[in-house]
Symmetry: C2
Subunit: 350 residues, 2 copies
């Protein structure tokens, strides 16, 4: 049995009273009990505690940034994280790479009848830890329970609000030939950790998801006053998807040196085993950054001061548009076009 | 065959190209095509059009209200609405009864592989119509496609931001003996419309959901400067759930006159058939309002000027706490305690 697979509630393992039931979602007594014991007690704050139909947020002077994401990852638990930590970090990372400091998050849960309460608690606890680490408040929520078989265990939708950090607006269209491309850590770990955690593959690999908050890395770049052309967490489609999107927007060719891309041995091995290009595999705490030529050393120094981006590396450069939008210098020293990721390689990785 | 049941994609009815596939959710070409053709084109606005990692919202002076809801209704289409109109109205109604004018909404979609594109389009079009009617913008979104069987067709999570209307703060704890209880329309229609639309019941009933925007009714009360003790849309658990929550918060007994509660004949008939108390059945465009004694005529006049609340009626009054928190005057003229709704009567009604 795989340790990271969250099982349904077999009769012999959990009593009904130890599982989420439809009554937990009907708005009456058990719903209030679940919300009070598992959610309000963990996420208590002055805004959530009012428990009205809508959260009353304090006045913010200046513009706001808003982002939303649904998480349907399977299995719920994997080395390096779970659907809870992923739902918060994923959404906060979208704000971070947009140059915004997160303030508030809403949390909407769709739970399958029969989910063991112990697993639900574990997910809520991991959400609590990440929100505490990020210094943000959960201010609104919703809980729906659907009958067995209507959904798979637990889906989480998070929506975050934040305030833009002054001077951190980036625009991929501003990327120019000569600009340097950086990546903040070892790639492909999230996607491969999820694959390894799936029972059906029977793979034993020591790979942890990179699931983590990118805000400290963004703040470090901000504090060092690094001009940023483009910044993006390399989630679905990996580093390749980010580079393709930027190359199309800026009308340049982005060339990376395969040998410079940080990659753990275990991750490389598993990618080879499955015939996957690590450049196309999802990350959840690793971003790609483009800075003007000459700024790469300062950017690296700033990033390497922060745990989440300690392995930051320069991996390439922008050039005038050549035959292909994205190319990779592989072992023979020649530029090879890098395909755009296509097809449903790995469903339910986030 | 029930007209309102959204079918999966049987091989003979829709070609694969006419259905949502996993590739529509993998972040690459087909995802961009789906988002462009079905979402961006329908909801185009200056904020959404920027398509960054996070939406940049203009500066708002003053506090904000925020609310989130997941919608898992089955079937997707029912008389009077569909999951799309429901997801927008439900979330905006939460803002409205909190006394807030909606500004922006985010839209997160979890789609089952195989959902006919035609049905997806129909839901998006109905979202477009409601957002237009409400005068709000969709500013952020997310699209996930999960393999067949992992979810049931389509779940939608909406998160809304709005600004409080000055002077419209209500607090159920302020309810006092003598206060009047109003309802804004015929009750129990949403729950019964969903039940009738479920194939398995084989019921033919001419019942339409009351699914509709309550903001105009709230604005009418605001314009008429009606002091409001409490205001709530009577969703899960119906009018009974709202009254029970308020009675507990205010420490009073809320008594309603059964004969005064607006109820359509078809809805009454179906509730009798199923042995359900219409006071416990969900609504999606009907709210309960408590005003101080003496203000009920002005409140009714304001509400009846607006289509959504044209059938507004005084249904009861607050009293000092008696034996039961909520009582109903039934046909014999005596107060009978009204139970708090409990148990999963109707899963997946919203």
């Amino acid at each position: 049995m795989n340790l990271y697979d969250a099982n349904h509630c077999p009769v012999n393992q959990f009593a009904d009273s130890e599982c989420i039931s439809l009554e937990h979602g009907d708005g009456a007594g058990l719903t209030r009990q679940l919300i009070h014991q598992q959610i309000r007690s963990k996420f208590a704050n002055p805004i959530l505690d009012r428990l009205g139909d809508a959260a009353s947020l304090p006045t913010v002077t200046g513009p706001l940034a808003m982002t939303t994401d649904s998480f349907v990852v399977s299995p719920l638990f994997f080395p390096g994280g779970d659907i809870g930590s992923l739902a918060i970090t994923g959404t906060l990372n979208d704000l971070a790479v947009a140059g915004a400091q997160p303030l508030w998050v809403s949390l909407a849960l769709i739970i399958e009848e029969g989910l063991p309460l112990r697993e639900f608690e574990r997910v809520m606890e991991s959400i609590r830890q990440v929100t505490q680490q990020a210094g943000i408040m959960i201010v609104a929520g919703d809980t729906k329970v659907v009958p067995r078989g209507v959904t798979d265990k637990l889906f989480i939708t998070t929506t975050a609000l934040g305030t833009p950090l002054a001077g951190l607006g980036s625009d991929p269209r501003s990327i120019q030939p000569g600009d340097r491309i950086l990546v903040t850590g070892s790639i492909a770990q999230h996607g491969m950790a999820i694959m390894a955690a799936r029972d059906s593959l029977g793979i034993q690999a020591d790979i942890r998801s990179d699931c983590g908050l990118l805000l400290p890395a963004v703040q470090a770049l901000h504090a060092a006053q690094i001009p940023i052309r483009a910044m993006r967490d390399a989630t679905r489609g990996g580093v390749a998807a980010v580079l393709h999107e930027w190359a199309a927007q800026a009308g340049v060719t982005l060339t990376i040196d395969h040998g410079q891309v940080p990659l753990n041995d275990a991750t490389r091995g598993m990618c080879e085993l499955l015939g996957l290009d690590p450049l196309m595999v999802a990350n959840e705490g690793t971003m790609v950054v483009v800075v003007p030529d000459g700024w790469e050393a300062a950017a690296l120094a700033a990033l390497r001061d922060v745990p989440i981006s300690r392995k930051a590396t320069v991996i390439g450069q922008a050039h005038p548009r050549d035959i292909a939008p994205v190319t990779v210098i592989r072992s023979l020293g020649r530029d090879i076009p890098l395909d755009e990721p296509a097809g449903a390689g790995l469903p339910r990785i986030c």
